[in-house]
Amino acid sequence: MPAKEPKKSCMECNDAEFELTVRKRQLCSLCFRRFIAHKVQSRLSVYRAFGLDGPKHQLLLPVSLGVSSSVLMHILNSDRQNRLSNGRPLGYDFKILVIEPSTIAATGVPFDQNYEALQKNLPMHDITRIPFHSIFDYVPEVNDIMQEYAGSKFIDNSTQSNEERLAAFRASISTPTSRTDVDNILLTRLVVEFAKKSGCESVMWGDSDSRLAAKALAGVAKGRGASLTWQVSDGMSPWGVRFEYPLRDLFKAELLQYESVCAELSDIVIPDQPPSENVLTKNLSIDELMLRYVQNQGAKYPGVMANVARTANKLNPSTSDNAPTCSLCASLLGNVEGNSGVTVANQAEDNHSSQFCYGCMRSRPEKLC
């Protein structure tokens, strides 16, 4: 009986044995990594210099030590090493920013070992580590904004440490949706200010395709549809720093696969907490609900979910440059030009609407509706 010879070689190089199946193709780990890296690099072609003397772009890569941003960092770093060793021009250089996870999440995950592993892995790199509450140092005006935003629910005590002040502000916001919403705004502002101070023109966010889809849906559900043009699309943010999402063509599952074939990442990445099963829908935040929705639906319809982020990416950024913006999140106040809807008029129940945008008004601690 002739031995049954299963076809086991990689479909790309026809040489090595295949290890992973990605988008219906069986690849060896090397070709898989190359495939993923290509998807990322093609997104960054804007920053490639064509000559050795071309301008060198300075990028900021915020790393949460989660899977996605760590994979992005690994890909950028490998690319950098390759180019340097081959004497090819790089076109860009990047700095790494880690906002201490223990200062963001209430359940303080120890991350020191992961951070050390990161430093060890990228010894040549400019890596900075700052706590979340350093926002008071980086964005000095945030103090007044918080006071105005939270109203009487939050009384700032300047004798307290920054850490305590931030905690007090966050505690004044009552619902999980609003808390996550405001946290994300503050984190974005901190990253942006850091980028500006360190001379970076763009921020490379490590959001996977799945995460961008969830962000788009959550943004829409929170009345922030107009900000998708920089929260989900590549483009100029309101703060004059470009936002790029180089992982937008990759699913979360593929990034997990990448992590599994990169031994050096295992010490860096803090694994995701599995979603809790027994949480009532009404106690979830909208962001969490959308992440779950995209995850569940994505298992069956990955393309449809991926298409959500792609659709959002096709929207034109708002053209009204001089229009007043929200002092907290920098989104447009009122309606986008050309929108004659009266949702805003229907909601103008107090005078705060002059300073904060529709989405931020919804997340206020003392919101009236």
């Binding site: 988008r23 219906k24 072609s45 804007v46 064509f50 619902t175 949706t177 788009a216 849906l217 943004g219 829409v220 559900a221 929170k222 009345g223 922030r224 549809g225 107009a226 043009t229 483009g235 829908t281 009404k282 979830l284 935040s285 909208i286 609900l289 929705y293 639906q297 069956k300 319809y301 990955p302 393309g303 449809v304 991926a306 298409n307 959500v308 792609r310 659709t311 959002a312 096709k314 929207l315 034109n316 950024p317 708002s318 053209t319 309606n335 986008v336 030009e337 050309g338 929108n339 004659s340 809807g341 009266v342 949702t343 008029a345 229907n346 909601q347 529709y358 989405g359 919804r362 509706c369």
Partner: protein, 412 residues
């Protein structure tokens, strides 16, 4: 426990928790606030002009009954000077329409408005029950939606009326926004939220004055004013994307009651951000369902998922084809990504033509209803053909026929 005083008047006893913001209100304040909000919508968007003749698309369900009641009240209170009438469409769904049409007839008497009823069988030669018999229970909302859209326009034209108002509520609009986002349908995203729609393809203006009103508040309003309406759901299930969006919105409402309105706001803003060059574009033949289909009143997310699966397959194929493409780079100047700002492209205007079959206004050679009818009639035994069909449109109808055969096969 002591009774809570009304949040608004601080006097009467609160009997309603407002779904939109959980304010506790007395009956009188709730009714007055609800009406005032609709009034503000009408004034804020310059919806009507004095002396305008307006047909209310009436189904006998809660939305259109409340719309008729509110418009009558506001018309008298604020002297809009509108000439209102009721226009009903009989889709021919046994057990669903018969009773609700009786309700509409009573409403006509209650509100002292003239009533006109038009049947699908009269207009198209097919009742919805017959359509379902033919195409199965999947995808029949497409037919119903397209037929109804035209039917209302035709009915209005027959009455010499240029403005039809429908009972679409905030939940319907939010659902449409989410659905179009999930479906990646930018052209519809650009027009689905607008309070006035379809001035392009028809000279009849359509609007939805209840666009910002929550479905739950409409029910409460109907209950507290003891309006006579017919409670039922369409017995056929919604399309998969709409079903998915509907489920999602129900969950969102549990988390943050305002999110329905927030989605409407997002939808309005995004509509203004859709690039001009894709706004007027049509969509693939699968998504023939127009936004108006959401008004059919079905509440459950019952769905087969067929449409999502089909799109998934399509996207996977696109992806595969893309990986086979060879990227050709221009030698110079192509490295800087062009600023995705407003492009100077000229807007491709939709040319308004008349359908070659029925002479109804259409942007295509054959209007959508006739295309659908074409497919239906092809499968009907020759002796039973009631609407004359030419043979010229071979291609589109055979595609449609194949689609329906597939639908029938998978339904069995």
């Amino acid at each position: 426990m002591a009774p809570t005083a009304c949040f608004n008047c601080k006097e009467a006893r609160a009997v309603i928790i407002r779904p939109k913001n959980r304010h506790k209100l007395c009956r009188a304040c709730f009714i007055s606030i609800f009406e005032t909000e609709v009034h503000e919508t009408i004034i804020g968007t310059n919806l009507f002009f004095p002396g305008e003749r307006v047909a209310i698309g009436a189904s006998g369900g809660k939305d259109s009954t409340v719309l008729a009641a509110v418009l009558k009240t506001l018309n008298e209170r604020y002297n809009y000077g509108l000439d209102l009438c009721l226009l009903s469409i009989d889709e021919g769904i046994r057990g669903y329409r018969d009773d609700s049409l009786e309700t509409v007839k009573r409403n006509a008497v209650q509100y002292e408005m003239p009533l006109d009823i038009l049947g699908y069988s009269e207009l198209y030669g097919w009742t919805m029950d017959q359509v379902v018999e033919q195409v199965g229970k999947k995808g029949n909302c497409t037919y119903c939606g397209v037929f109804r859209r035209q039917a209302l326009d035709r009915g209005a034209a027959r009455l010499g009326i240029k403005h039809v108002v429908t009972g679409h509520n905030a939940d319907d609009v939010a659902e449409t926004v989410m659905m179009n986002l999930l479906r990646g349908d930018l052209p519809r995203l650009s027009r689905g939220t607008s309070i006035v729609t379809s001035s392009d393809a028809s000279d009849i203006k359509r609007s939805k004055p209840l666009k910002y009103a929550y479905e739950k508040e409409i029910v409460l309003y109907a209950h507290h004013r003891q309006l006579d309406y017919f409670t039922t759901e369409c017995i056929y299930s919604p399309e998969a994307f709409r079903g998915s969006a509907r489920t999602l919105i129900k969950d969102l409402e549990k988390i943050r009651p305002s999110s329905i309105l927030d989605i409407v706001k997002s939808g309005e803003d995004m509509a203004a951000l859709v690039p001009v060059e894709v706004r007027g574009a049509g969509k693939s033949k699968q998504s023939a369902e127009e936004e108006s289909a959401g008004g059919c009143g079905s509440q459950n997310g019952r769905t087969s998922g067929g449409e999502m699966a089909a799109m998934e397959e399509q996207l996977a194929q696109n992806d595969e084809a893309e990986s086979l493409e060879t990227e050709i780079k221009l030698p110079n100047g192509s490295r800087v990504k062009p600023n995705r700002g407003p492009t100077g492209k000229a807007v491709k205007a939709q040319t308004i033509k008349h359908c070659e079959r029925c002479n109804y206004i259409s942007s295509q050679r054959i209007c959508k209803a006739c295309t659908l009818l074409d497919g239906l009639n092809r499968n009907r035994p020759k002796t039973a053909i009631e609407v004359g069909v030419g043979m010229e449109d071979e291609e589109s109808s055979s595609t449609l026929m194949r689609q329906m055969e597939r639908a029938q096969l998978s339904a069995t």
